[in-house]
Symmetry: D2
Subunit: 313 residues, 4 copies
């Protein structure tokens, strides 16, 4: 499989890890999910991220999930989350998934980093550990990781580490960060990297207008994200916003920390992608009231997007 | 003026502090803002919160702003933010504003609190400082203050401190917290307190359904918030959601930390309430691109809510 | 090997993991280190703690180190650090080391925990994962983990989880916490648990007087810690303080976060226990000036404790 | 009074604020304390720091305390802590105390700062607020403020803001930071600033050897700190360490966060400087056991330093 490059565009869904109710990995759902991603025009996929409950998998399970996803990915590049408390485990997992055909890895910063130097130094050491030939995605997600990367820090990392090919942009607020990075690029002061946006797509409508290349997030309607990127590329601005706004009430609900994963898995189950919404423990379950709220949001969405209609039996 | 009670309902806008471009306080705008709040059916108002740039005012200015708001409030109860690094300053400001006719005060936790005992103890000491006869609002806003209050901690505070009459609910996610508090109340295990929601109203559509009494936040269309509370009370569920969803793209944009205040002041200026969008330093300004995005959001909103249309000249 | 119980007393050194300069594990030094611990009267040993660079080991290496230590421990109980970002990895490592003869495991809290309920719930889930039959050590180390456990939280964990048999006490300041826990025990409100103190022993002189059962830390003169516990038990208060005070300048130096491990390994190398002071990357190295300071501290200590004299020159 | 310059040396005790048991400010003790500082050879004094319970004073009280200290300081330069949640309050207090004869101000960073740019920008704005003509002390105290300033950040601040004349060095560990700053100075890359050390002097023995100019901390035997600086300047290295080591057991005890202030005030009371050890609420009191421990430490110290003997009645 080809390696990830800084030209990556479009939508790389963050794949959840499907489980049966008893906690076993549901391999049939993995295949169905990958077929779904192919069918909607995803341009890549990321596995073993936070959303993928990576921390609840044993090492061999992580490898199995990654291997199955890679095997079913056909030509889609697969990014594997390899964040780990130590570089030894990060290196081991990286080498194993690259050997199986991964296109690159994603590395989140440990939440103890504070100063600019600490952040840059961490990625320097990570690259030393995994090898400078492995493309990596810089995950900038201060809301969850408590690590704040200024534009200057991202520039230092991009300048110093050629294997950094993508920014998973999840700063919040983050619109100006995209503009600043693209302005540096325009001025010839920063090489081009791919910027794919996370945060469940909460600002994707304007992020693509600011210069982002697409989305890298777990919203349960990745087909809508694909549409947004396409409509924006075509210049159909208002059509993009109309579709986005129709999804925003649900998207916002799904973006809530903790309970968000339960919502996503529930919708993916209702869409026929997953056979169960089960998470491994520890999990933030969805209350009965929350489920009726999600059903309500889906029913309202169905009036505007037939893809939600199909599942409202 | 009557004191704040646990029966408070409706919408208490968080008032910004109007400045001229040179940093002086714009008292004419304060009057206009208060008249605006009266005209839209607000049931109270909160001044000198975070949104009110309280930390950028000198002590005498804080008093002047609070006094003017109270003077123009007529029968609307006025809550004054008195959060301070020390209890001496908190007590002093509390006594001064209560003497001028404030209905109660709002107290945010210092962001160094961690354990349940530390949080409860802090509010115990705060009440000891300001006096048990001053009604206070418990501000639960972990996203900004990094202090996490469990339902158990809120219960302890409500049980122990009778002057706690309102929860400014800004936990995120927070829907289950409202349900849990109201369930405790139903079971007779917790006295009733008013729950008004913040976070710019990002979940107000479902928060009122969960048992919240209204909103206490700074969205630049507080008239919409008033409508949501009213429509929900009338049982017009879908109408409430239709209106809410029309505002959600803008509301979400405004809810961004940092830049959000600039957006709010800009819209309030465009609505004719404030004469300037100026903030005192340090301020997160709104970029030129951001302003075009807000204009775009307003133009789109105007198609659904005539109140946004008026200002799109 | 017998399981760890709440009667544990004395000194359980936190064992470093010996490396060669090229990063390989130095098994001969592990044997020598274990013989050293036997010779000085240690009553147990802890491996794969933070100090043991556990996060820099691959899974199989962790198992090998733990196995060798257990094999050489004779009758000394061995506690294995099993803290992990997810319960799957924690359970796997626990089962493997218990099968090899570990006496119990040590679990540190993830640094995202804030409320009392979150902390108690985490340990509840951890016990569910590793099994209620595995004795575990509760690590209370807010300086490093940013998790603050009140006396009430510790009581809840001890009450609810019978397999919690020891507190690794590293709160700072922490003297009153020991007194509070022992007072609860005296009043019959808390079952007895072993309290062994960390923080390099910085307050061990008074901790044992307050009711601690000993030390569980990495100071490079664990023989001194053994003496302190013994002298205190014998009632030789001033002799205990004289010895402690002689070591305090060095002990304080070694207790510095980051550089502390380099100092410990350097001294253990000079004492002939380790063949190298090497750490795996990422490591905080000791500067040339720091080394002269440590040599200076050792030279001064040698005037009062012959054990430091042996290695000087 | 002359302004603070980057040539400041020696010991600037951090003055506590003396209270009577009923919470009133004890002005006679302020005079006695200032006379004591003169008598021991202090070269300056800092008031209204954290240790001075600045946050528990009302604005007018802060001014009164600062004024009295300045009035009694004779030629000793007085630094006033002006850290505040907003720049308006910081500017107001700064102008008032400078008008009364303060030599400079000390500014701690708000604990929300994370990135290098945020830290530099904060001090840039602070200087804009207080005026570029007011000398200020940069307080680098990550243990309390959670703000980590790298050497690079300090350099940026010193380079950009000429009114930064002193670093209150309280990083921990911090020895290498002193060496790095002095190395930059030697290489001509950084102008000279005064470095006075805090953290109760826990590493002062080596800090002065590394290039620090003295101490700026609250240890209850500032006369000992003066001796250390003098002995080091004279080249009496071992005498300096002997004296320091004699004090270290007590110094370490006093350095504990929270309870440390109670210990300091208690010892200053026993030394006849303060008439009471009272703190304003909220205060971490000293338990009865802790008091016996402090008495024990003083009794042991008295065997080596007659200044402790005098008070052991």
């Amino acid at each position: 499989m080809p390696l990830l490059t800084s030209d990556a565009k479009g939508v790389y869904p963050i794949a959840p890890t499907p489980f049966f109710d008893d906690g076993r990995i549901d391999t049939a759902s993995i295949d169905r999910m990958m077929d779904f991603y192919h069918s909607i025009g995803a341009t890549g996929v990321t596995v073993l991220g936070q959303l993928g409950e990576a921390q609840k998998l044993e090492h061999t399970e992580s490898l199995e999930v990654a291997s199955q996803v890679i095997g079913r990915a056909d030509k889609l590049p697969v990014i594997v989350g390899v964040s780990a408390p130590g570089f030894a485990a990060m290196r081991a997992l990286t080498h194993e998934v690259m050997a199986r055909g991964a296109a690159g890895v994603m590395i989140a910063p440990p939440n103890t980093l504070r100063t600019d130097d600490q952040i840059v130094n961490y990625y320097r050491q990570a690259v030393e550990a995994i090898g400078a030939d492995v493309p990596f995605v810089l995950q900038d997600y201060p809301l969850t990781f408590s690590v704040q990367m200024s534009v200057g820090v991202i520039k230092r990392i991009v300048d110093e580490l050629p294997s950094c090919v993508m920014l998973k942009h999840e700063d919040w607020p983050g619109l100006e960060k995209i503009s600043s990075l693209r302005a540096l690029e325009k001025e010839g002061k920063l090489r081009h990297i791919s910027i794919l946006c996370g945060n469940n797509g909460l600002f994707l409508d304007y992020e693509v207008e600011r210069g982002a290349d697409g989305a890298n997030t777990g919203y349960a309607f990745p087909d809508m994200l694909v549409d947004i990127v396409r409509l924006n590329a075509q210049g159909d601005r208002e059509a993009a916003h109309d579709l986005f706004d129709a999804h925003l009430p649900l998207l916002r609900y799904e973006q809530q920390p903790g309970v968000g994963l339960a919502v996503r898995k529930y919708i993916l189950m209702r869409r026929g992608v997953l056979s169960s919404a089960a998470q491994r423990k520890p999990a933030a379950p969805m209350s009965a009231v929350a489920r009726t709220e999600v059903d309500h949001l889906l029913a309202r969405l169905a009036k505007k997007d037939p893809r939600a209609g199909k599942l409202v039996g």
